[in-house]
């Protein structure tokens, strides 16, 4: 045998959804025992390609070869039979089943469970030793942390004899320490001869652990390179098709008077879970305070309280005067009247009405603004339309058609519609949640510039993001949230990802060494909240 066949070879894969060409003539070769990264912006077609490989979609054209064998993959059973395992971004686990039951689910040997479970228990023990995938087989999924759940997903694939593992945005919900642990596991799997495909939008991960990387743009595979031959800036350029600024360009902050002063904020949700615990911080004019943390540790609740749609106990002073946290003026309209604008975390369910046209969304939340009214009863639709057109021009929303429904814009352009609406209110305080989630790199650059420009106008900005890079790049001060509490504040120049990562896991004595087990225990202890939402 002179050459090894590639573990996976795709030839000319194409797939269209209606008029949208999601994948265009894609060909790649992934050699066995390597980690291959696939990087691309949202909507570049990465997920579609993997769904074809896993049998969720049927390609319109093209061929798939697994270890040199031409293989048809009409459904996920066929994919599993071909040795492909998939770890989805959103885990497919039964929350109230044990680890063991989840591993066996769908791969039972017969009508009775007992033999399968016994066999799986043995196998898990072997796998755990082989790949350092230690999980308690009898733990209930809802009681274990996200990192552990992800390991169960990997175990599921390995139990099904997968030797090709596809991971879709695996680090989205992990702290840096957990991500490191995952990469160690992936390294181990690779050493054992497994082939790994890693889909991500994080350049750093690609650089850290892949051997080769393919870049996708607008449904096409634009290039495949050896990771050692490229750099983050080069990859970003290949993804976007032009040079991009990866660093946020900004001057040092010049904080002035305190705009927002939060003292002892507490929130308990309907289920009785204590979501915010004595949260206190302040933001000054001309300053960006970044809130770092793993998703689901109280950041959403904090934004909701400030935005006026969750009631809370405690005290919040805005420009020195208290705001109503429970009464009749604790709603979003009153908050806007106090000079608080809000780019919410979830633009699809909060920031926009997807069925409304772009111009209707321009007035959203500000529909009482006198400039949008024709009389006491009638709204001035023409004025809103014109305002929308101007905002879309200024923020370079494409296509610049205000009549188009919000759902028909790309993620980045949808976000620009929201950001334009909120920033152009010239608020004293801007709340920004996950400003660049699902947004393409080009738009990220633009949105970051807008936020910094607002800061430089002497406004206060509260930035919540699960992307540490974004927090480090934009913030003038960083507060880390864990389990509803603020674990500490740091200055970006005086901290690093490792320290923030430990704080995100609830470890405050960050100068001492900590094991991954300790961090995981902490995270699991933080409860179901951490798994609430991705």
């Amino acid at each position: 045998m002179t050459t090894t066949a590639p573990a996976i070879e795709l030839k000319g894969i194409s797939k269209a959804f209606g008029p949208v060409q999601a994948n265009k003539d894609i060909s790649i070769r992934v050699m066995p025992g390597t980690v291959h990264g696939i990087i691309g912006e949202n909507g570049a077609g990465k997920s579609t390609l993997m769904s074809i490989l896993y049998g969720f979609y049927k390609a319109d054209a093209g061929e798939i070869f697994i270890h040199g064998q031409k293989t048809e993959i009409p459904d996920s059973q066929a994919a599993i039979a071909a040795g492909i395992g998939m770890v989805f971004q959103h885990f497919k686990l039964v929350q109230n089943f044990s680890v063991l039951e989840n591993v066996v689910l769908g791969a039972e040997d017969g009508a009775m469970l007992r033999p399968s479970l016994a066999k799986a228990r043995e196998q898990l023990k072997t796998l755990a030793e082989e790949y350092e995938l230690h999980v308690d087989p009898d733990a209930i999924i809802e009681d274990i942390g996200v990192g552990m759940q992800q390991r169960v997903e990997i175990l599921k694939a390995l139990y099904r004899q997968a030797d090709i593992l596809i991971l879709d945005e695996p680090t989205g919900v992990l702290t840096p320490a957990e991500a490191d642990q995952l990469f160690r596991i992936l390294g181990r799997l690779k050493d054992e001869g497994k082939t790994i495909i890693l889909i991500t939008h994080k350049l750093r991960e690609i650089m850290d652990i892949t051997d080769t990387v393919s870049v996708m743009r607008r449904g096409e595979m634009t290039s495949t390179v050896k990771t050692s031959d490229t750099s983050p800036a080069d990859l970003a350029e290949r993804m976007v098709g032009r040079k991009v600024l990866l660093r946020v360009d900004k001057q040092p902050a010049q904080p002035k008077e305190t705009i927002l002063d939060v003292k002892g904020l507490n929130v308990t949700d309907e289920a009785g879970v204590h979501r915010l615990k004595d949260v206190s911080f302040n933001i000054k004019a001309g300053e960006i305070l970044g809130i770092a943390g793993v998703s689901g540790n109280g950041q959403s609740e904090l934004l909701e309280v400030l935005g006026g749609y969750t009631k809370a106990n405690g005290e919040i002073l805005m420009n020195g005067a208290p705001i109503d946290l429970t009464g009749a003026t604790s709603d979003g309209q009153s908050r806007r009247a106090r000079g608080i604008a809000h780019v919410p975390e979830d633009r699809h369910h909060e920031g926009l009405i997807l069925e409304f046209s772009a111009w209707e969304n321009t007035a959203f939340g500000y529909h009482h603004d006198p400039k949008y009214q024709r009389s006491n009863i009638l709204m001035d639709n023409a004025a809103i339309l014109q305002d929308a057109q101007e905002k879309m021009d200024r923020f370079d929303v494409r296509p610049p058609n205000p009549q188009l429904a919000a759902k028909n814009f790309s993620g980045g352009n949808q976000q620009k519609i929201v950001v334009a609406r909120e920033i152009e209110r010239d608020p004293d305080l801007l709340l920004v949640g996950q400003p660049t989630r699902g947004v393409d790199i080009g738009a990220i650059e633009f949105i970051h510039q807008q936020i910094v420009a607002l800061r430089d106008k002497g406004k206060a900005i509260l930035l919540v993001s699960v992307e540490l890079d974004e927090i480090m790049g934009l913030s003038d001060r960083i507060a880390v949230m864990f389990d509803g509490q603020i674990m500490g504040e740091r200055l970006p120049a005086e901290t690093d990802e490792k320290e923030l990562g430990l704080l995100m896991a609830g470890v405050t004595d960050t100068d001492k060494p900590h094991t991954i087990e300790e961090i995981e225990q902490n995270l699991a202890h933080a409860g179901a909240g951490a798994t609430k939402e991705v």
Binding site: P19, H349, E350, G351, I353
Partner: protein
């Protein structure tokens, strides 16, 4: 890129639905041994064949416009008010009370007073379901349908006791005073020497119905309230973010809905040839309103068209059973088929048509 062109959504889908209903209707007619073609001709004749028939069609259409608008307004807030039937009955009670106990000097004033009373009574009847939905999360479908039964019971009680004149056998109010009797359209046409609508009860309240269509159009697409109703209806979480009060919008949208349904009673009490309130005053219009709103895509223009269609179907069906040996139950089956295909089974027709357009636009894109 929308899934399909607007004309397909507005015209093609309802037409295909109607065709399917017609095909099944043909099977039903054949099964009961009737010639479907003859039956169809008779129905069409019964709907528009004479001035009387045409007038009746318009009379029923007036009812359906009111109830259709009522369903549509609530629907824009994503609320399914299926209590139109009960709200109509209560509206009738309101109209009857002001007509019987207030000495109106002229029908125009009676129309205003009766219309207001009908709207207020209809709206009041939805207050409790609306409150339970807004504050307690009790599903509006369950509560409004239960309120239909209560309305019907309440009305029978009122008409057999409190409001029934002594010595009258019928469960109905006394006949309203002359000055509360709305002029029929034939009276109006008579001013120009025409006999366009015969002895049919279609009356000036059809203009109120059309005005209500304009009003609803303005409300939904040109007022702040309408904006908030639509925003809430599309996304409750987004409405929360924007500071739109779910409780207020739920209450207001349902009250307007109940008011519109109640106003139908003006047509059905003050407008009929013998103006009075009878115990089956709603006659199913509350439910037909659901189909009208669905078929009319919750837009006033669509609702007018759908109401005319259902008016014709209702009237034509009545003539069909009167003129032939076709049992009235079969006519009800035909009407139910149309409601089912245009309303409940809308998605069954819609999604294949959508897919067809998707395929076509993809083919067009590939051919570029």
């Amino acid at each position: 890129m929308d899934k399909m062109p607007k004309w397909a959504d507005v015209v093609l889908v309802p037409v295909v639905s109607l065709l399917l209903a017609a095909i099944i209707s043909v099977i039903v007619f054949v099964a009961v041994g009737q010639n479907p073609w003859e039956a169809l001709k008779l129905m069409a004749y019964g709907a528009v064949g004479t001035s009387d028939f045409l007038g009746y069609t318009l009379f029923y259409a007036t009812n359906f416009i009111f109830t259709g608008l009522a369903v549509a307004v609530a629907f824009h807030a994503s609320l399914f008010n299926i209590g139109g039937e009960g709200q109509v009955l209560l509206g009738g009670l309101g109209a009857a009370i002001v007509c019987l106990f207030v000495p109106w000097p002229h029908w125009t004033l009676a129309l205003i007073g009766g219309g207001l009373a009908a709207a207020v009574f209809g709206a009041l009847w939805v207050v409790i379901p609306a409150y339970l939905q807004a504050r307690r999360g009790s599903h509006i479908v369950i509560t409004t349908i239960m309120f239909n039964f209560m309305a019907s019971g309440l009305l029978v009680y009122m008409l057999s006791d409190a409001l029934r004149p002594e010595g009258q056998m019928q469960t109905a109010t006394a006949i309203f005073p002359d000055r509360t009797h709305l002029p029929s359209l034939n009276d109006v046409a008579g001013l120009f020497g025409s006999d366009l609508f015969g002895r049919s009860p279609v009356n000036v309240s059809i203009f109120i119905a059309l005005a209500a269509c304009v009003g609803v159009w303005l409300l939904i697409w040109h007022t702040r309230l309408g904006y908030q109703i639509r925003a809430f209806g599309q996304s409750e979480s987004a409405a929360k973010y924007a500071g739109i009060s779910a409780v207020n919008i739920t209450m207001i949208a349902l009250l307007i809905s109940g008011g519109l349904a109640g106003m139908m009673a003006v047509n059905n009490t003050m407008g009929i040839n013998t103006p009075q309130l009878v115990d089956n005053a709603a006659g199913g219009a509350g439910f037909i309103g659901i189909a009208v709103a669905l078929m009319g895509r919750n837009h006033p223009v669509g609702i007018i068209i759908a109401a005319l269609l259902f008016g014709a179907l209702y009237q034509g069906g009545a003539e069909l059973s009167a003129a032939t040996s076709i049992p009235v139950q079969i006519v009800v089956v035909i009407q139910a088929l149309v409601i089912m295909f245009t309303g409940a089974l809308d998605q069954m027709v819609r999604s294949p048509i959508e897919k067809m357009f998707m395929r076509r636009s993809r083919a067009a894109a590939a051919g570029e």
